[in-house]
């Protein structure tokens, strides 16, 4: 299985001289399975560059899995070039939205409205299919199984585990570890803590023993208190999660749009110094646009 990062930036595209090394595109990860199936995790702006590389291997059959529908994870979708070419297939997977009462078809319907995009869905030549998934409902893509797990974000967010011939990847999308909304003196504190502990067990079980964990590590521990409840993790929370899940390799992603390459490396260096790697610990890395690994 091959994994390639096409967008690692959080919130908003951030091009410019300060982000040349790690990249300014928003979330998009390409996965090539052993039987060369194409799986794409999220349709941030990174999907545009990816889509151009696909034109040489048409007809394209793309299996896109959307972690959640915030702009930075979907706004490249209308620019996924293969959808304009007959014979191609785009299969879009994602969660049900309990607020709008709609399934994943909503991401295209919303973006392709007249005022916001010149081409209507009916005018797109490729076949576009939608599959709204339930948590835990696995999808088979060739030899590969993709399984969604409900994580914690201000909108419904699925983390996806991809299993292919004994190798595995888990991508969180955006996720903030749960915290207790009650104080220790509140009557509901213990009840809530038990619910959180159960939820954490479910999440860790879903990513247990993966070869690669790619996780939202937006903030530093110092930044986090001002951003609590915004739905993102920290470098430290990602490292803790990777250790507990027994991941072999951990990629920190969803880099803050204002963080320069130099600052990103500086902060990551501090974190690594806090967690000197012991035997059995995961290998910690910063996700970088353009980087490709094979597992």
């Amino acid at each position: 299985m091959k994994i390639k990062f096409w967008g690692v930036r959080g919130s908003i595209p951030s091009p410019g001289p300060n982000t040349v090394k790690y990249g300014g595109n928003t979330t998009c990860i390409e996965i090539r399975t052993d039987d060369n199936q194409l799986i794409i995790l999220d349709g941030g702006t990174g999907i545009f560059a990816l889509s151009q590389t696909l034109l040489k291997e048409m007809p394209v059959s793309a299996n896109v899995f959307i972690t959640h529908t915030h702009w930075d994870h979907i706004h490249g979708l209308p620019f996924f070039i293969p959808i304009f070419i007959p014979g191609n297939t785009l299969k879009l997977h994602g969660a049900f939205d309990p607020i709008s009462g709609r399934g994943i078809e909503q991401v295209m319907a919303v973006q392709l409205q007249y005022s916001y995009f010149p081409v209507r869905e009916a005018e797109m030549k490729a076949s576009i299919e939608y599959e709204t998934l339930m948590p835990g409902q696995s999808v088979q893509v060739g030899d590969t199984t993709v399984t969604p797990t409900l994580l914690n974000h201000p909108v419904i967010n699925f983390g996806y585990r991809i299993d292919c011939n004994g190798k595995s990847v888990f991508f969180t999308g955006d996720h903030e570890p749960h915290y207790n909304i009650y104080g220790p003196d509140d009557e509901s504190f213990n009840e809530y803590q038990m619910l959180i502990d159960d939820k954490e067990k479910t999440i860790l079980a879903a990513m247990n023993g993966v070869d690669v964990l790619i996780a939202d590590s937006s903030y530093t521990t110092e930044e986090y208190p001002a951003k609590k409840g915004w739905g993102h993790g920290t470098f430290d929370s990602t490292i803790a999660m990777g250790k507990k899940a027994g991941a072999k390799m951990v990629y920190c992603t969803h880099h803050e749009p204002t963080r320069s390459d130099a600052d990103l490396e500086l902060e990551f260096g501090k974190v690594l110094a806090r967690y000197p790697r012991k035997a059995g610990d995961p290998d910690y890395r910063l996700a970088r646009e353009g980087e490709e690994i094979e597992i």
Partner: protein, 290 residues
């Protein structure tokens, strides 16, 4: 006979979708959600005081869209499962439906209903926490108490003529309201409430508490006993009666669970009862223009 026709079932299910919530919670939710940094704890406490909002949230959570292995029975659990912002927006969309009118064609006193539901919830939770039965969560008893009479609001909103006739019959003949409902509507509020709860895939224990709060249960557990007794205690203490002032005797099985008859249970609860009543009456005020 105590059955509902498929046509009535369809009509009632649809009708609940558009049912507005209570004024105080709607007002509080609109107020709290204007703040970007809404305190989750405060919002949960407001939701838990409104039977309509609680029910609608549990309905979404337990729907087929999330295919849960275990049912979600509390608002706290809903927050952990879907995330606070999603629950906040769900509450807001429910609040936006409007406010349950104080007056309705059935002449059903919704303020008294809310008072009765809140006190039954509080008393059921208190009884259950005193019993300390492993595996039975006092908060689940609270929710069961809050929702036990939900079928009545549905009647008042959507079968007002029939429900009004049933309330009059119960009053004139001195019989319990659920018996009059059965005679006039063909099904009582326990049947309608539990039918809806079943349709929305609520937990079996919650469905059972709604269905059997006037009758014996096949599964006579501490939760059923707590809700059964709390319902009668709330009426006996005149904390609100949701159209049925008739206090029934507690079945032996309930007394066995709770260690005495209704009077003994009331004595054992002491001053905590009036605290529950005070808190409920603060919330059940319906003077905000309704």
């Amino acid at each position: 006979m105590n059955k509902i026709s498929p046509e009535l079932e369809r009509k009632l299910t649809l009708a609940v979708e558009g049912m507005p919530a209570f004024p105080k919670s709607v007002q509080k939710i609109l107020e709290l959600t204007r703040n970007l940094n809404t305190d989750p704890k405060e919002l949960v406490q407001v939701i838990e005081k409104d039977p309509v909002i609680t029910l609608k949230i549990l309905k979404v959570l337990n729907s087929a869209y999330f295919s849960l292995p275990n049912k979600i029975t509390s608002i706290n659990h809903s927050v952990v499962f879907l995330g606070f912002n999603t629950i906040k927006n769900l509450a807001l969309s429910i609040a936006s439906v409007g406010i349950l009118p104080k007056k309705n064609a059935a002449h059903f006193d919704v303020q008294s209903y809310l008072l009765h539901s809140l006190t039954t919830a509080g008393i059921a939770k208190l009884l259950c926490s005193k019993l300390r039965v492993p595996g039975i969560d006092p908060m689940d008893c609270y929710i069961a108490g809050l929702l036990h009479d939900f079928g009545k609001v549905v009647f008042a909103q959507f079968l007002p003529e029939e429900f009004r006739a049933a309330m009059e019959k119960a009053r004139d003949e001195g019989i319990s309201l659920h018996i009059a409902e059965k005679q006039i509507i063909g099904a009582d509020h326990t049947v309608v409430g539990s039918m809806l709860a079943e349709k929305w895939q609520f937990s079996d224990t919650l469905i059972d508490c709604i269905r059997n709060h006037h009758s014996p249960s096949d599964d006579e557990n501490a939760m059923w006993a707590s809700v059964y007794a709390a319902n009668q205690i709330s009426k006996k203490m005149a904390y609100g009666n949701s159209g049925n002032p008739c206090v029934e005797e507690l079945p032996v099985a309930v007394c066995n669970f709770l260690g005495g008859d209704i009077d003994a249970i009331i004595v054992s609860l002491g001053g905590e009862l009036s605290k529950i009543a005070e808190e409920a009456s603060l919330f059940a005020q319906m003077d905000s223009g309704a």
